[in-house]
């Protein structure tokens, strides 16, 4: 295993382990449906039960995302959100909460255009703990993964059902923070995985790494979150939260007054689901 920057992510997983439970990771897009509302959502999300916050960096061409997150990305871009402003949101958030880990999730081009070194310096300073960059597989690790580890930022790799046992060590070589298992072969928010299948894959990954394993893509309800929490170290929910935002838009695409409460309400029930799960210790 490569170097493992200690961040709020590693501390939070240690804490969850001590509590004997899995964590809830929430995903919302920076600037969706507008900057003000997305900031309000973030301000309440940890208190509502998110153990870790994933913030989507909007991109015009999110090729691994389903319709919900595509639309959320476009709303954010239309409202003027950018990578620079996303870092501003994180810096502002850190003034009130210096504990909850923040992971930026997105695509490489905005970071490449920002400049990798400048981005890593600014992200670290803003209080970003980890990065998930969908279109940077280990084959392109020199681009951002290795520089991120040097800068003290976790680089979180996705693994998929298509990632064979033979390939896993390559993916895990420089993985840090946690491993994100994409539970379906598909895009975000389109299918749901069977917890039994997921358990097998998580065991497969855990046989090759000590890193915690989070599971995402296709977890929508508190029940599903509870099931996943029973077999993994964290459950990631994105599209279902974004759908709450979409459902509360008025005819002009402006957020209705209930938007923030709707999102945080779902976070609360997801958190209850995750916390209700009995963690099954599996031999691996």
């Amino acid at each position: 295993m490569s170097k493992q920057p200690e961040t709020r992510i590693t501390r939070r997983f240690a804490q969850l382990r001590a509590e004997g439970r899995a964590g809830l990771v929430t995903f919302t897009t920076a600037g969706d449906p507008d900057t003000e509302t997305s900031v309000k959502i973030l301000e309440g999300i940890a208190e509502a039960g998110a153990d870790m916050i994933e913030i989507g960096v909007p991109f015009s061409d999110p090729m691994a995302d389903g319709p919900a997150i595509q639309a959320s990305s476009l709303r954010a871009i239309k409202g003027g959100m950018s990578l620079r402003k996303t870092l501003g949101i994180v810096a502002e958030y850190r003034k009130k909460d210096d504990e909850t880990p923040i992971v930026l999730m997105g695509y490489y081009n905005p970071i490449y255009i920002y400049g990798v070194d400048a981005f890593l310096a600014d992200a670290k300073k803003a209080g970003v703990d980890g990065l998930i960059v969908v279109d940077l597989p280990p084959e392109e690790e020199g681009e951002l993964c290795l520089p991120a580890l040097d800068a003290g930022v976790n680089f979180i790799y996705l693994t998929a059902p298509t990632t064979t046992d033979a390939r896993l060590p390559r993916v895990l070589e420089h993985a840090s923070g946690f491993v994100y298992f994409v539970s379906i072969t598909g895009i975000t928010g389109t299918r749901s995985a069977q917890a039994t299948d997921v358990a097998g894959h998580v065991a497969r990954i855990k046989a090759k790494t000590d890193l915690p394993v989070a599971v995402g893509f296709g977890i929508r309800t508190p029940e599903q979150a509870a099931e996943i929490a029973g077999v993994a170290d964290a459950a990631v929910v994105g599209s279902a939260l974004v759908d709450q935002i979409t459902a509360n838009l008025d005819d002009n695409g402006k957020p209705g007054p209930g938007t923030v409460d709707a999102v945080l309400g779902l976070v609360r029930s997801l958190a209850e689901g995750v916390r209700s799960a009995k963690k099954t210790e599996k031999a691996s």
């Binding site: 595509q70 476009l74 490489y108 081009n109």
Partner: protein, 403 residues
């Protein structure tokens, strides 16, 4: 600049042309991309694979396409001798079929059961639907909603050929969104499906694989020019969207120092207007659709839509090998506007009795700029990469003709 021993060495092990190219795809696809690479490495060394390719090129596509001396246009320009490489005479009317035949042979070799493709103007979609009919494979074509509306004849052709057309409403509903949607399909159906990409772009090995299939254009040109003039051409000109017809013509000549090579991008309403799809002349390097290359984008790295009267050039990126050839200076990249292309369209139709597609009209527009000042023994080859039937509606509208 250090002089390279060859410009034709292909890509390095990790799929890069200099800093361009690469494999910027989601992990779900990565194992499959590696499978495609492995299968391609084996196929390209297999004589039987190429024998079948050559057979279909000859008997199904109708190759070799003629190298034609455009005598009346040459007289009109009053300078260099202008030749057309007649790839518009291929079955389905463009160079696209060279690539789709090659890729479906590879798909079959890999045991894939289902084909997907993206299309803009519909030419690649038609070429893909055609080979799927020929090989009896189900075919799904992703096409931006706006393009479905603009290109009804091609949509109907694809349906006749048995393809399912999926109109893409995501994003801005154009070619780049169709490509995103095809990639999403591939992620979701990774085991059974082969993605036939329409141009020399995308993750490695696509840029090099598509180039190798399209090199039939340049290889034939070399032979034909030897026969007709007893020597190499002096200048090659081709239009560039993604750049597959151009790289196919250029690549076999890259190491011939005497051959001047020019790619022509679509400048739409003019580079300065911001409404164009000239990635090399009006964009900067970035990462999209699996590769690093020149892209039209804003300061935040968001991809901008390309614009051109020619729907086939309307893509905000370009094949990574062109980006590399530009940076090292081996190929010159210029541009031509909608207006330039339409002038060339009229000229070619009137002087040669050839109704060209709007894509090669951009190349012809540049030939019209340079030919008059070149000596009479200077040999220009322009790739006539598609016929104009598909464009008559768009052209009629511009010329104010009621159809």
């Amino acid at each position: 600049m250090n002089k390279l021993n060859t410009f034709r060495s292909g890509v390095d092990e990790s799929g890069h042309f200099g800093i361009y190219g690469g494999r910027f795809v989601a992990e779900t696809l990565m194992p499959l991309i590696l499978d495609v690479e492995k299968a391609w490495e084996e196929a390209r060394k297999d004589d039987d694979f190429w024998a079948e390719f050559d057979y279909l090129m000859k008997h199904y596509v109708g190759r070799p396409s003629p190298l034609y001396f455009a005598e009346r246009l040459t007289e009109h320009f009053g300078g260099a001798k202008v030749y057309f490489k007649r790839d518009e005479l291929n079955h389905t009317g463009a160079h696209k079929i060279n690539n789709t035949i090659g890729q479906i042979l590879l798909a079959r070799r890999m045991g894939k059961k289902r084909i997907i493709a993206e299309t803009g103007a519909g030419q690649h979609g038609v070429a893909t639907a055609t080979v799927c009919a020929l090989f009896g494979m189900p075919c799904v074509v992703y096409m931006g909603e706006t393009d479905v509306e603009r290109q009804k004849p091609n949509v109907f052709r694809m349906r006749l050929l048995g393809a399912e057309i999926v109109p893409v409403t995501a994003g801005t509903g154009t070619l780049k969104d169709a490509m995103n949607e095809a990639l999403r399909d591939w992620v979701a159906n990774v085991e059974e499906t082969f993605y036939i990409i329409g141009t020399a772009a995308g993750p490695h090995p696509y840029p090099v694989m598509v180039r190798d299939f399209q090199c039939i254009i340049g290889n034939e040109t070399r032979e034909q020019m030897q026969e007709m003039e007893g020597r190499l051409p002096d200048t090659l000109v081709a239009a560039i969207g993604g750049g597959s017809n151009a790289i196919g013509l250029f690549h076999p000549f890259l190491d011939d120092e005497s051959v001047n090579i020019i790619g022509v991008e679509a400048a739409g309403h003019g580079i300065e207007s911001g409404e164009h799809c000239a990635s090399l002349n009006g964009g900067k390097p970035g990462v999209l659709h699996g590769n690093r290359t020149y892209l039209l984008q804003d300061d935040d790295g968001q991809i901008k839509d390309g614009y051109s009267i020619s729907a086939g050039l309307d893509y905000p990126g370009i094949g990574p090998e062109h980006s590399w050839l530009r940076d090292i200076g081996r190929v010159e990249y210029v541009s031509a506007t909608d207006t330039d292309a339409l002038e060339a369209f009229k000229l070619c139709t009137a002087k040669e009795g050839i109704i060209p597609a709007l894509e090669p009209c951009h190349a012809l527009a540049h030939v019209a700029r340079i030919a008059p000042d070149l000596p009479k023994d200077h040999l220009i080859v322009m790739n006539m990469c598609g016929r104009g039937d598909k464009d008559i509606f768009a052209v009629a509208e511009r010329f104010g003709f009621e159809m």
